[in-house]
Symmetry: C2
Subunit: 127 residues, 2 copies
DNA sequence: CTCGATGCAAAGGCTTTGCAGAAAC
DNA sequence: GTTTCTGCAAAGCCTTTGCATCGAG
């Protein structure tokens, strides 16, 4: 079975600290280094893969060049600035009734969802 | 300025024909070949890039390994089967009021959105 | 001693770009 | 003739895997 993984633990700690809403693998690796934790990129990759399997993390579909992950259980949607790529977390904006209707009409059993709003952040709007 | 692009025209035609909801570059290249249109992958890439710039296509954030595109103007959300990766289109499930509230609280000016529901399709559920 | 975790390096997959030739104007 | 579109090939970027080593039990 799984043995305690130094790296997986640190990843969860870093994410729980909450300096960010959605991490890329590279951001996780960097954050770990800043915490003084040596971690190869592939080890971060495998630790995240493991945490996904344990359902402690979820992968979110923010399509900006690199896969992004966040802690499971703290579901929220996201807004992304199309100019500077800044990300902000927002409360869920899905209408439960509409979701139920969509599930019924397609026959799918819907378990989770991922919403990304596109827009312009306050800082970029001023320029 | 831009000259008529044989490939861009065919891409729009193919997508308008509507055999699918969301195309990858490879699917577009394949569909074009089946229509008897020779098109290199990079040409498809550039034609799509151009159509995106003209706002005739939009890129959607379905995070399944390859970028996906659909015709602009026909906005809808998607459900994806987590087992077989099947995709289905659904009416928009975003609550306008919640979206407005999110925009207000973050200060973002929201222009578009992309929703992907995860679930299990009817076919996969039977197994 | 045994098995899983880790680092290093290489392989993969999709995306993007450089360049020369063909096509449109 | 000049500008744009295409095809071909190579380069890039991120993700994934193979393998030997290290370390916990």
């Amino acid at each position: 079975m799984a043995r305690p993984s130094r790296i997986a633990l640190q990843i969860v700690d870093t994410m729980t600290a909450g300096a960010r809403h959605a991490w890329t693998l590279e951001q996780l690796a960097t954050d770990l280094h800043q915490r003084g934790v040596a971690a190869d990129f592939s080890s971060v990759y495998r630790a995240v893969e493991r945490l996904l399997g344990e359902r402690r993390l979820v992968r979110i579909a923010i399509d900006d060049g690199a896969a992004r992950f966040e802690l499971a259980g703290a579901h929220h949607d996201h807004v992304r600035c199309v100019r500077c790529a800044a990300l902000a977390a927002i409360p869920c904006v899905v209408d439960p009734a509409a979701l139920a209707a969509a599930a019924a009409s397609t026959g799918y059993t819907v378990t989770t969802h991922c919403v990304v709003l596109d827009g312009v952040c306050p800082a970029c709007r001023q320029h």
